[in-house]
Symmetry: C3
Subunit: 423 residues, 3 copies
């Protein structure tokens, strides 16, 4: 995050490329360049934007605002301009936060050709009648939109999609924490043997996910679960936002995992505003994709301002977020439906060494897990179903399943087994 | 209501006709006369009842009770009688309320030939041993049952049925408020262009709805929504009683509209006792008909007594009831299901002028309404569904739908469109 | 219970036979003997165990522990032994409860050949280094497993199964109360005319129900409802444990009946541990069988120890348990679905003497029951459904159904009628 913070990112351009190169030093990445003007559903890929310099000087030549001081000073996608303006001509191009006079806001104008500067309200109020020189040395020209993907092949083609946006400039929680934790997670997963295939997509928000969807439509049927991730480092509680359907497997896993973390963690309903779940969960795709953040977009004071810097991050929160993500992925990967091969009455577990020999006292947790698994494994109930109904820890149930497979008392259901064979 | 209050109404007779004539001066009305003896399902239309005079006099010729003082003094449908009776012969024919000694109760005997007087308990207790002269100068003879209908044709034949009973004599909340507000509502609707056709039925309770159902069975399939209305002027909270199914569209609209009024407003479950929902929601019809009252029948002290007069009415309550009714009708009329014509990802609203140009700050309520409508319009979710899920105001969503239709981004679902074409 | 308390029961042997003989003096019983070695699903019927004597003596010939003092002193199914042992050789065979130093625990070793003694912790702590003589004069030999059944034929073959275990020795709440109340209930039922057929099974826990299921598999389709009963005499609240499905008719009846008893009564979810519901609700059978106890297994301090004696029983609790059981059976027996023969509007109840003659005042409870029954009897709603929805007492609804049948206004639904005809 420290390396990425100073880069002036936007939805296209060299800032995005520099960001992807930094990620690529941690995990294998395939980058795609999509030409400006490419039609992607109702949108088209915009001109590529690159910026060299941007400042405002007063008539005395003193620099009032300079991009070099903070990437937020320039409204993202500002068109080139070099002009001398009176204060009243300049003011419509200035953005500040009166209620937070020391913070610089984050503003963009991707699709309406415009230019602007963002500054603290104190800076704005200090401006006097004068003739100001304004320079924005930017390019808005045919080029490309760039995104990166890290695919980690599992035993099956069933995919878990992790999506994070990479278009924000010097903003820490939104979006450096998403980039950093997705990268860390991909590095972890790459070392494990998994059933699912994992696809991490690092792309600009909105137009990036729209472009990715347009170019990957044929493979969306493989997406079994997905998460949009970001805003994972602040001190707020973990927040899982449900998919559009609200009852996808990922939604149930999200709820189960968050219930195991601190009590403030909470699940919220889907809404069509937020990050790239807006596109992934549009009605034409309706993917089983949830979202994990801590405090959601717009709900913390520092959001989309220069105050979203390293000071609002918390090491413990980042680490908890990573653990939550890893647990969600582990449960999705391990979930399976079993069939009890001895469904009439309980099998005699004692003779297989799976039950205590002396009766009369209560059995232990593992024995309860065995009984739950046997009782519910009629081919209709997955480990997740059983964990939800029984309250028994998912991992303990998974261990019980392993023991019962070894004893030849359950087998994976035909559906799950066949899916694996096909692959 | 002031004009209707003195009329001695019952389930048949000139009181009903006078009432319908008064309504007819406000709205167009088609009146039906159904002959006594007509078979209507398990019932038959009773003889027509008309009353000229009714009194009790003591041996000194002093009038003890007189119909001219209050229409409640006579048990409705009392058979003619002229007799001299001792006190003990008279007493079985007298009805009073010991616990409310100043109120006259409302009593009826429609289907068992009987006669009786209702009086305050103070009047009854003042009676001494004497020879009383009793006169009831009534007719119980072949005639007709009368009801009135006001039909307001909409763009479709889909009907919204509003039903109110008109058989109670001088009782204000039950039933003059129902008659008055149904009339006011019909007058409002008549001036609007509506999708639905509205049918207001003014009929005597029970036998009136049974007769109406028997004569309109073939057109019940057009009834999409319905409300029984009455008891709308007291100071109690608005009370919506669900239809027999409990999950009809009208039930969901009722719940949504009441949630927007004062916090005391409440929805209650269906029960097979009350007003004409008993017949409209009988299992052979099971119409999607709810009921709107303020305090329901039997739940306020003055119910079915002379104390149900103008003093228990409240102007603000009457006005709120009318607004609630009008809002329910408006939502039923406006509800429609749309199909997003650009279901893959969001359409680019900005280029159509439907989204703010500068990004970074939160969008407004109307933009949220647009996003919700687009996201949910897969042909399965009506405006009502979307309003329930999103919490966005129904009318704002309807405005968003209009904007998206204008932008060619959604269209009414085929089902809705075809229904309109057929008509 | 007083007669049965001293008998040394186990899962096979003469203790079981003596118990069944005692029951047989109260109700007709058919006993089955199933030979050792018989395969029953994944299990086999074990050798029959009989015990003549068991004691430990010290080197001075003083008796330390003797089966004659308490049947719990011997670990059930102990293999024969006669040996002289040092204290350290003896200790692994001794079971006690350090936290309850005056209680003897209940321990078993049915399927691993072993022997052991159970004693109070005070007895155990008093043992000194010595040479102890140990005698267990038991047989573990080919024989039989014994269980008893009392079948009470009803008008139909639809069965209500009541299952109680009979394998525990001198333990009062678990299992003498189950045996006693099942017996009392069978005696009551035998005197009544019932629609359902009742089958009371008295069998050893686990292996008994497994054996019974193996031998009755073909008739399980007749089981419409079932209850495992036991632990019915302690001062804890009535506890209904739902069947595996959780929504069986028996589960709804259990909830309704318990709601009518003291407020502490509660329903708990199914879990695959407990008594013979483990087998009856295994996924291969999944029978609609719930369980009625007061405090469930393992949840009271005296459970499976010598402290589970007559002192923890309460006469009022036993009597309440019996009433709850009888009510559950009565509702299951009486439940039926009716069809309203006059489904369009209400029938005119007044002319049939079923409704008060004078209108205006509220009808009574029975009239409400009539209206609910008529309104809901569309062939889809049973008395139980109607009682749940309306809150009207089940028995009052049943009386209303009888009155409406007599008036030819409803009839039993075809399904119910045909089931009866077939029989």
């Amino acid at each position: 995050m420290e390396e990425l913070y100073p880069i002036c990112r936007s939805i296209t351009g060299d800032g995005v490329r520099a960001t992807l190169r930094a990620i690529e030093r941690q995990i294998p990445l395939v980058c795609s360049e999509v030409p400006s003007g490419t039609r992607v559903f109702d949108w088209e890929v915009p001109p590529e934007w690159n910026i060299r310099a941007a400042w405002i000087k007063d008539s005395g030549g003193r620099t009032i605002v300079d991009l070099r001081d903070h990437t937020l000073h320039l409204m993202s996608y500002s068109a080139p301009v070099h002009a001398h303006l009176t204060l009243s001509e300049l003011l419509p191009h200035l953005h500040s936060l009166p209620e937070r006079p020391d913070w610089i806001p984050y503003r963009t104008s991707y699709y309406r050709k415009d230019w602007g500067f963002c500054l603290t309200h104190r800076q704005r109020q200090a401006l006097r009648e004068d003739r100001y020189e304004v320079l924005i040395d930017s390019d808005l020209a045919a080029g490309n939109l760039t995104y990166g993907e890290c695919r980690i092949q599992g035993e099956t083609e069933d995919e878990f999609l992790i999506f994070t946006h990479i278009c924000h400039p010097s903003l820490c929680n939104d979006n450096l924490t998403g980039i950093a934790l997705a990268t860390a997670l991909a590095r972890e997963i790459a070392n494990e043997r998994t059933k699912l295939t994992y696809r991490f997509v690092f792309a600009p928000g909105t137009i990036g996910s729209i472009t990715w969807l347009a170019r990957n439509e044929s493979r969306l049927a493989s997406v079994r679960h997905g998460l949009v991730v970001g805003l994972l480092g602040d001190r707020g509680p973990l927040t899982y936002k449900r998919s559009r359907s609200g009852v996808a497997t990922i939604d149930r896993i999200g709820a189960m995992v968050l219930a195991g973390f601190d009590q403030r963690a909470r699940c919220v309903d889907f809404s069509p505003y937020g990050y790239d779940e807006r596109q992934l969960c549009s009605p034409g795709f309706n993917l089983p994709v949830g979202r994990l953040t801590r405090t959601p977009n717009g709900e913390y004071a520092e959001y989309h301002s220069s105050a979203d810097d390293f000071r609002i991050l918390d090491r413990a929160a980042l680490s908890e977020s990573l653990r939550a993500l890893a647990t969600i992925l582990a449960i999705a990967d391990r979930n399976e439906t079993y069939v009890n091969l001895n469904p009439k009455c309980e099998p005699q577990l004692g003779k297989r060494g799976l039950f205590r020999a002396v009766g009369g006292a209560a059995p232990g947790d593992f024995e309860h897990a065995l009984l739950w698994l046997l009782n519910q494994s009629d081919g209709d109930h997955s480990l997740l179903d059983i964990a939800e109904r029984s309250g028994v820890d998912f991992e303990l149930l998974a261990n019980a399943a392993d023991a019962l497979i070894a004893a030849n008392l359950v087998r994976p259901s035909r559906l799950d087994a066949e899916r694996r064979k096909i692959q």
